[in-house]
Amino acid sequence: MTELAPVLSAIWDQDKSWKRDTYVKSGGYSALKKALGMEPNDLVQMVKDSGLRGRGGAGFPTGMKWGFLPPDDGGPRYLVVNADESEPGTCKDIPLMMANPNVLIEGVAITSYAIGCNHAFIYLRGEVVHVYRRLLQAVREAYEAGDLGKNIHGSGFDLDVTVHAGAGAYICGEETALLDSLEGRRGQPRLKPPFPAVAGLYARPTVVNNVESVASVPAIVNNGVDWFTDMGTERSKGHGLFSLSGHVERPGQYEAPLGITLRELLEMAGGMRGGKKLKFWTPGGSSTPIFTDEHLDTPLDYESVGAAGSMLGTRALQIFDETTCVVRAVTRWTEFYKHESCGKCTPCREGTFWLTQILKRLEAGKGTDADIQQLLDTCDSIAGRSFCALGDGATSSIVSSVKLFREEYERHVTEGACPFDHAASALFDYSSEPTTEEAHA
């Protein structure tokens, strides 16, 4: 049995856990002081040795990303924290920053010192005002305590941190779109190369890291590489937040070593809602191919999930039981991608539109057998043909669900209607029959 490992979540249940004082009492900001006494290169090496990989979805080694910055040329270099958490199912960074924004600020300070950055940015999605309030306060308190600003703790190191609110666009979670947005433009992805390490924010060397990645740095500095590598699997080291949502008894955030399985997590979460049967789930958000109960024992690390045909992504485990119509679920995700496609690349912009048309027809029982093949063909015309991964993500749930549940798509065609009672999937009782509502207010 794998044990949970609350590191980032350890103080979330304390009184006013978001306050600087609370954080400092539990050892907060001690890693920054330790880091400032080290050589920046040694910090980069430490994070490389820890094996920490990007927690925002792609899983790229964090220390290696830091190491890609070209040698100092005397000009500015930037750290940009990606706090634009918007992938359907993903709900870890927002509660982290609401409950303890200070661990992120400390991580930002250490990371900035390590890479030689004097002005860091946190790009937060705009639709979470209370999280923004707490980040703004945490940054102000850090300045007041001398953890940010000029000559931090007498080290000679200067750092300014700006917390920037976005304005509602999923695509800004893509790192180059995020940079364009932060520059005051429409958030559309850039063609790579050049990568942000070479030409990022304002065309200067830039590291873009996810919230959880940066927030994981202080504990590594404090506890050491061995402590971190003791957790996880051979190539997926350390702890991570696993976000369980959907038809489970106790949904929520479960911080565990990478490599834990859904079977173990489900047991901790009290099992499936009402003892119903697991039908399908996403291992890492809506952009990752879906799994079924055959994957209950797949270790949730980058390699094992990849080998099983999906991606660990953001560890956003959306759990759906046997009452759920997979065609309905996939249609809704696809509508999301259509809505959020930035429009820059034709395959994604036009393709997600057509996918939505076909899926809505199928879901309503008005599709044909040929539509199912057309879906797959259209996915072929999208995947791998755009600047960024949004279009690829749009095809993931479609291709995987047709593979695993083709018969259910066909039933929508042969029965001429959705065979499921949507009310049975809801958390509350209601009749699926149309109701006559009271007069409008």
Partner: protein, 221 residues
């Protein structure tokens, strides 16, 4: 522009502060658009002109940015932006039914505003609170674990002019204009209100404590 003297004076002071946060001033555009929404309740033609003049851009360049992002409103917005998440997980857990009832009660559809200007209604995309599904947001404050009954009570209270309290957020939801000012990067003194976390946020931590588990005492090898 038609801003009166005192409004313009405040806008100029705020714009100056926003510009000071960035090494390159165009980066100030997104917060500045939030700022003009905090005054006008939407991105007005005046607001676009103001941002353009402040940042040395054309009005067309500012509009091009403003129309890209869903939080910038092109028509006068309701005092309360009410969103029901109808992305897959929330929809399946009951969000579709909540949306239907709320929309019927308000008498408006997606991206429409009630005649009294109280509520602008919206079908939300995922707001990163899936473990609290079904979720609603009012002016971007969290209302967790909603049912049709709690949802209707919420919109009734808003329509009646009563204060509403989010599950995780300030003691009462501020107006759209007030919240827009926060999004422009100005603190409003409400950061210490509300809880640190909801029950699902603490589910794993609680489970670990019950079992006496601590990090790096084993783990999945």
């Amino acid at each position: 522009m038609t801003y009166d003297e005192s409004t313009l004076k405040q806008l100029l002071a705020d714009a100056e502060e926003i510009r000071g946060r960035y090494p390159v001033e165009r980066s100030a555009l997104l917060p500045m658009l939030h700022l003009v929404q905090s005054v006008d309740g939407y991105v007005s033609p005046d607001g676009i002109q103001f941002c353009a003049e402040q940042l040395g851009l054309t009005a067309a360049e500012v509009s091009a940015v403003a129309t890209f992002y869903t939080q910038y409103k092109r028509r006068p917005n309701g005092e309360f932006q009410v969103g029901v998440c109808t992305n897959t997980l929330c929809a399946v857990m009951g969000g579709d039914e909540i949306w239907k009832r709320v929309s019927e009660r308000c008498g408006v559809g997606h991206d429409e505003t009630t005649a009294d200007g109280k509520i602008s209604l919206e079908r939300l995309e995922c707001n990163a609170a899936c473990d609290f599904a079904p979720v609603m947001m009012v002016n971007w404050e969290f209302f967790d674990n909603m049912t049709p009954e709690t949802a209707l009570q919420l919109v009734d209270d808003i329509l009646d002019g009563k204060p509403v309290k989010p599950s995780r957020g300030p003691d009462a939801v501020p107006t759209f204009k007030e919240v827009s000012r926060v999004l422009a990067g100005f603190e409003d003194g409400r950061a210490d209100q509300g809880p640190a976390a909801g029950e699902p946020t603490l589910a794993g931590l609680q489970s670990a404590k019950d079992q006496g588990w601590k990090p790096a005492k084993g783990g999945a090898k």
